[in-house]
């Protein structure tokens, strides 16, 4: 086996790993606090990537499509500012979704909440297609990713962009940990994650805390979408496949474990690149199949994943 090639493939995989990890984190934050899988997470994230796209392109109605054209700022934003804008919009969107669509159904059965997220998925997806067209858009690279912009380690190229996304991901993770460990809201969030009823009894506002959780998750999703929009091309279905990888990552790590999401994303990202490379039948096109099979296998054999809480059912 060619070791340099293997190392190269691992380096290439690390970029996707970071994206899957951050989207998986978004899914885990919501699952941990509400027990809900947000199927619309990917579409909500894609929507914010379009917002970043609109902010970046300035007053060019042809590029921005009909929707929101009137709201486009007069000057194109620089990339970091556009992404921050998208993340803020994403957080507001997440909070509004929780408040308007999820909280009123607090006591409804699981099926109702699945329906809501599927509804949001479908509506957002076709809204994007209508406003911005279904064709792919070129989203500028956030980090220098051209030819030669890389470190060479043992003959394999490690791109600056890979280091960049990991730096952003780790920085945001440190912020998240600080938020959870050092602030009142973080404490409230941890309490709510353990038990809604008990948290309410000691005076935590459960609804508001969950709303913050959704905002946080959507922020992570927005970041994932903006960082990956350059490599996968911005289009309405951009995050559908990414969502499968992210769900596989979250399941592998344990659906309620942030640490698991990070490690799961790493493993799924690596396997996405390595499996098609060494198993010819799978090929690039089908690389999403192993992720799905892994997800099914984990749910069958060890539903708690690597780091998740084992669920005990009372009969």
């Amino acid at each position: 086996m060619d070791l340099v090639l293997l190392l190269q493939r691992i380096f290439d995989a690390l970029f996707n790993s970071a994206i899957y990890s951050s989207l998986a984190l978004a899914l885990v934050i919501i699952f941990r606090s509400t027990g809900l899988l947000n199927f619309a997470q990917g579409e909500m994230a894609t929507f914010t990537a379009y917002i970043a796209f609109v902010l970046l392109s300035g007053p060019q109605p042809r590029l921005t499509g009909g929707g929101l054209a009137g709201l486009v700022p007069g000057v194109p934003f620089p990339i970091p500012l556009a992404i921050i804008g998208a993340v803020v919009c994403g957080m507001v969107g997440g909070a509004v979704t929780e408040r308007a669509l999820i909280r009123p159904l607090e006591r409804a059965p699981d099926l109702a909440l699945v329906n809501i997220t599927i509804g949001v998925l479908l509506a957002t997806n076709s809204l994007m297609g209508q406003w911005w067209g279904t064709g792919p858009r070129v989203f500028p690279a956030v980090f220098p990713s051209g030819a030669g912009q890389n470190f060479t380690i043992l003959g394999a190229r490690l791109r600056y962009s890979t280091i960049g996304v990991w730096a952003v991901l780790l920085a945001v993770l440190v912020l998240l940990i600080l938020l959870l460990r050092q602030t009142r809201t973080g404490l409230a969030f941890r309490a709510v994650s353990i038990s809604h009823a008990n948290a309410e009894l000691v005076g935590v506002r459960v609804g508001t805390t969950l709303m913050y959780g959704w905002a946080l998750a959507s922020g992570f999703g927005a970041l994932a979408a903006c960082l990956s929009a350059n490599s996968v091309l911005l289009e309405p279905n951009m995050m559908l496949r990414v969502l499968v990888y992210a769900f596989a990552a979250a399941t592998l790590g344990g659906l309620d474990s942030p640490k698991g999401a990070l490690i799961g994303g790493l493993i799924i990202g690596l396997s996405q690149t390595l499996i098609p490379a060494y198993v010819p039948f799978i090929g690039f096109e089908l690389s999403v199949l192993p992720a799905l099979l892994a997800m099914v296998a984990i749910l069958l054999v060890r539903p708690a994943g690597l780091y998740g809480t084992k669920r005990i059912e009372r009969v």
């Binding site: 809900l36 596989a248 069958l300």
Partner: protein, 326 residues
């Protein structure tokens, strides 16, 4: 099912061939067979309590299989349709295997994943699916010699009637099934699987059968698609298509046969109104939102959210007293 409603539907269906153009008859046939896919979701989710977001996959399997049987193996049409549906049922049983352990929201996740994987997967088997661009079916479903005429219109009407008969039979069979021993077992499992097992329901066999029947119905829809349009392509089986079928089933009302019919009727009406609204010009910024009404995915997404809030039991549940559910 209300007798009046059924009579009204029968009258509308009978009038269509006399007033509609050839395109209209073909569209009407597509709408009629759409009931089967929605009914499939209804059996799995509404009666069996297993959320399936990936029924487009089984339509696809049914269509590809039927195309292969009738073209590749040169089987007679009726046999090919039956086998195509059976193949989808088999695929459903395979998918149902993990559903023996994976439940609720996690099963929804797996079936959504399946819907997303299906397109790339079917491109991998071009012999059956025609690969990326799809393939035409050479065998044609033509009317028999006793049919009065063999013009294109007459053939379209024959296919239309054939679809109505098949869908009618499927509705009748499903109605009987859900009121049979298996149907009661399904509902018992849906409401409380532990209790059902205690009462002697074989969970494994009941769940597998439910999923197989449900997938078989969707596969029958796929088989009839090949009858109507002799062309199969993976392009039709997008994840969104699967989700729209799911949304139709929920909007119509889960857990009643009537609900599936109602869901398809509602989607047809909304589709026509949406087309008209999108065609209307001169509303300025509002016009842009009117255009959205033509997007079935948008209407279904919003409809799904609204129905969940207003009528949690779907259109079929409007006006009925709410049952106590846990």
């Amino acid at each position: 099912m209300g007798l009046g409603g059924a009579a009204l539907i029968a009258v509308v269906l009978a009038v269509v061939p006399f007033v509609a153009s050839i395109t209209g008859v073909r569209q009407a046939s597509q709408i009629v067979i759409g009931v089967l896919a929605v009914l499939g979701v209804n059996v799995a989710t509404g009666y069996g309590g297993m959320i399936s977001l990936g029924h487009g996959v089984f339509i696809g399997v049914g269509a590809f299989a039927t195309g292969y049987y009738v073209d590749g193996l040169a089987l007679p049409w009726l046999l090919a349709i039956a086998l195509g549906s059976a193949t989808a049922a088999l695929a459903g049983a395979l998918v149902g295997l993990p559903a023996l352990r994976i439940k609720g929201i996690h099963l929804a996740l797996v079936t959504l994943g399946l819907a997303i994987v299906f397109q790339p997967l079917s491109k991998r088997f071009p012999r059956f699916t025609g690969g990326v661009s799809g393939s035409g079916i050479d065998a044609e479903f033509v009317s028999p010699s006793w049919w009065p005429s063999d013009t294109r219109m007459a053939t379209a009407v024959y296919r239309y009637l054939f679809c109505i008969v098949v869908v009618g039979l499927a509705l009748w069979a499903t109605w009987n099934l859900v009121n049979s021993r298996l149907g009661r077992a399904m509902r018992a499992i849906r409401d409380n699987d532990t209790a059902a097992a205690v009462y002697g329901v074989d969970l494994i066999s009941a769940r597998l059968q439910t999923f197989a029947v449900s997938a078989g119905l969707a596969g029958l829809c796929g088989a009839l698609q090949v009858v109507l349009v002799p062309f199969v392509s993976q392009e039709k089986f997008t994840p969104q298509a699967s989700l729209v079928i799911y949304a139709t089933a929920v909007i119509g009302g889960l857990g009643t046969i009537w609900g599936s019919v109602l869901g398809v009727i509602a989607s047809t009406i909304v589709g026509k109104v949406g087309q008209a609204a999108a065609g209307a010009d001169g509303f300025g910024p509002i016009g842009e939102f009117l255009d959205l009404l033509d997007e079935s995915a948008f209407v279904f997404g919003v409809g799904l959210i609204l129905l969940t809030f207003l009528f949690p039991r779907g259109l079929a549940g409007i006006g009925r007293r709410n049952q106590v559910t846990s």
